[in-house]
């Protein structure tokens, strides 16, 4: 047993015991064991993360999937690797993750920790450890009642980064907010050299459209989605940084997957949507920075299965159900684009909650372009969640056929109605706690084997 003080030991043991109780007695709750540990030893993270090479993944959208992709690639490379893959991305959840992997007796060789972290929590983590790499995926408007605005979110992330000038930053170069940062860290950029749709232009409702240095509107050589792309400011000359890793060609993009050329390597990404190309690109960039071979990265991305509630596919009786987590307008619009790629008939369930983790204000659904799915032939439009009437109003105004609406808050009833749907394929688009709670229900009925 290595040197460790009594307070830390107590902290770790209490946390492990709480985690055991949480898992076996009350089912769920990924943050509580971390809270207990921190109560006893404030700097416990320093002790339990010792020896790990840490990769922090933050940003508004794509954290969970990117984290999972990097984890799988490292695993494929035979590294010892841990991750907080249950979406427990606050300080307490991260502490709990390290503790649950902590052993008093044996040390893993050259271990890696791939850690997803909430934007406002980066600074707590970098207080106690220096990551090998910090990556920021993108910055979209998200749950404004929590952090204010995209500029505030960026400031919060930077607060964390400035504490660790030695960490390498792997950043989305197409994100104008992340260019030319005032930091000492070495920076690597990734992005797109090809548009996803020809002649895509900036959406009226996109975020961050004005130069962060001189407030003039940006021009774009190409737009991928929302405000991401090859931007430049005609006024002051600020522009996208040189890309170290770039998607040069998109060979194919379907409702199921995509294949692209990253630098000179052809990569198949087993999950649909433009945003998953970004996630794959980010994972590719980080893996290359860690010196991993192309063939390993390719194999892993090709076999990547969906994470917890992120395009997860399950079967209920004879229905193919796909659960898509939706948290903010940018992500929701991408999810709707995925639906639109499906040329067959299908149904969809829209679940809207307004608990803290969903964002207590549901106004953001009005920033989602539901109008674009009004022309699709959606057979049954299920509407559920605590705020189902708000969602029903939104879908009605968007022009969806009210006669196809089925409003049902109760999970059991909802499930029965889904079973009786005329379509075989049913997409479930759910906000965070709606997804968590509905999965819990499905788990209790045996439709899902693994809860977390």
């Amino acid at each position: 047993m290595s040197k460790i003080n009594i307070k830390s030991i107590l902290s770790i043991l209490s946390s492990k015991f709480t985690a055991f109780l949480a898992k076996h007695i009350v089912k769920g709750g990924s943050n509580f064991p971390g809270k207990i540990a921190l109560k006893i030893d404030k700097s416990i993270l320093k002790t339990v993360s010792k020896g790990y090479k840490v990769i922090l993944v933050t940003g508004t959208n794509g954290k969970t999937t990117t984290t999972s992709m990097i984890y799988n690639i490292l695993k494929e490379s035979k590294f010892n690797v841990i991750t907080n893959n249950t979406g427990a991305n606050l300080y307490t959840g991260i502490v709990a993750c390290f503790i649950s992997n902590y052993s008093f007796f044996k040390r893993q060789e050259n271990p890696y920790a791939i850690i997803e972290v909430d934007e406002a929590n980066v600074k707590f983590i970098t207080e106690y450890l220096t990551p090998e790499i910090i990556t920021v995926t993108n910055l979209f408007r998200d749950q404004l009642d929590r952090y204010g605005e995209v500029y505030t979110t960026l400031v919060k992330i930077l607060e964390g980064i400035t504490k660790v000038p030695g960490s390498k930053l792997v950043l989305n170069g197409d994100e104008s907010l992340l260019g030319r940062l005032d930091v000492k860290n070495p920076v690597v950029y990734y992005g797109f050299n090809t548009p996803i749709k020809e002649n895509a232009s900036l959406d009226l409702n996109a975020d961050a459209k004005f130069c962060k240095f001189c407030k003039s509107p940006y021009s774009y050589e190409l737009v991928t989605y929302n405000h991401l792309g090859s931007f430049y400011c005609p006024e002051c000359g600020y522009k996208r940084s040189e890309l170290d890793y770039a998607v040069n060609t998109i060979f194919d993009l379907t409702a199921e997957n995509s294949s692209v050329l990253i630098n000179d390597t052809e990569v198949f990404i087993s999950q649909s949507g433009a945003y998953n190309i970004y996630n794959g690109l980010c994972a590719f960039a980080i893996s290359k920075e860690l010196g991993i071979e192309d063939s390993v990265i390719k194999t892993s991305l090709q076999n990547q299965s969906s994470s917890f509630g992120r395009q997860e596919q399950i079967t209920i009786d004879n229905k193919d159900i796909q659960i898509i987590l939706v948290k903010n307008p940018a992500g929701y619009n991408q999810a709707l684009d995925t639906l639109a790629l499906n040329k067959n008939e299908f149904s969809a369930a829209f679940m809207l909650n307004d608990n803290y983790a969903d964002g207590r204000d549901v106004s953001w659904i009005w920033d989602v372009d539901f109008e674009k799915i009004s022309t699709l032939n959606i057979e049954d439009v299920f509407v559920s969640g605590i705020r189902m009437y708000d969602m029903a109003v939104r879908l009605k105004i968007a022009g969806l056929d009210v006669n196809r609406f089925i409003l049902e808050e109760d999970y059991e009833e909802l499930t029965n109605k889904i079973k009786n749907s005329v379509s075989k394929k049913v997409y479930i688009l759910a906000t965070y706690t709606a997804m968590i709670n509905y999965r819990k229900y499905l788990h209790s009925k045996g439709y899902i084997n693994k809860l977390w």
Partner: protein, 240 residues
């Protein structure tokens, strides 16, 4: 009949889904067989005060609002003043509401000039007023619900409020008032979008605009508002 709705700075003031108000007005007018034109009016463009029947003026992030403040003063100030004084219909939410007043101070201390058309001002506050809100308007005998999210404290002097707070903070968390009414200009902190759960208020705006244009005897037929009213009702239940 025909209505022209002007959306001010839709590319800059586009947070919290306030664009929903425009979509809802359009939808409700269209169901009554009214042709609706939507005009976007942003930086460098003036307001067509003659042909526009309803103006929507939403809120944005502080960064974007400082860009708007300058344009408002230099380009649109005069036309907007005439429009409002003429008694035409305008709905302003949050930042738009603040910019119609004399000034507001941003959380970083920056003082941003408004147009001063409304005799009100907004001071930066330390606490953010966040939450579901219910107000009652005695004149109209109507209850409105929405979601407020602001740190600015607005003081409306002798203006009429949009309503008295039943739940929530309202303009400043002190005097129990929410929003402001001046002629046919309405200001509020309500997001939601505001009109999504208050269809009677949406119809009030449409009726006022149509009457201004086509005469006092214009009336609107009723619509099926089951979803809207259920959304309002379930919020009122929760706030009890």
């Amino acid at each position: 009949m025909e209505l022209t709705i002007c959306h001010l700075y839709p590319d800059l003031l586009n947070v919290y889904g306030d664009v929903g108000n425009v979509l809802i007005l359009k939808h409700r007018a269209a169901l009554r067989g009214i042709d609706v034109n939507i005009i976007n009016c942003s930086l460098g463009e003036n307001i067509d005060k003659v042909n526009v029947d309803i103006i929507f003026f939403g809120g944005g992030q502080d960064y974007e609002q400082s860009i708007v403040s300058k344009d408002l003063k230099e380009i649109k100030g005069e036309a907007l003043t005439d429009y409002i004084e003429d008694g035409k219909v305008l709905l302003s939410i949050c930042g738009g509401y603040q910019l119609l007043g004399k000034y507001y101070t941003a959380p970083n201390g920056e003082k941003i000039d408004g147009l001063g058309i409304l005799d009100l001002y907004t001071e930066g506050g330390d606490t953010r007023f966040i939450g579901n809100t219910e107000i009652f308007n005695e004149t109209f005998n109507e209850t409105y619900v929405g979601f407020e999210n602001h740190s600015g404290k607005t003081y409306i002097n002798n203006h009429t409020p949009l309503g008295k707070c039943i739940h929530g903070y309202g303009n400043n968390g002190e005097d129990g008032l929410e929003g402001c009414i001046y002629k046919n200009t309405f200001g509020s902190y309500f997001h939601g979008s505001f009109l999504s759960k208050n269809p009677e208020f949406a119809d009030r705006l449409l009726t006022l605009a149509l009457q201004k244009k086509y005469g006092q005897d214009v009336q609107l037929g009723s619509l099926n508002d089951d979803f809207e009213l259920s959304a309002k009702k379930s919020m009122l239940e929760r706030l009890k």
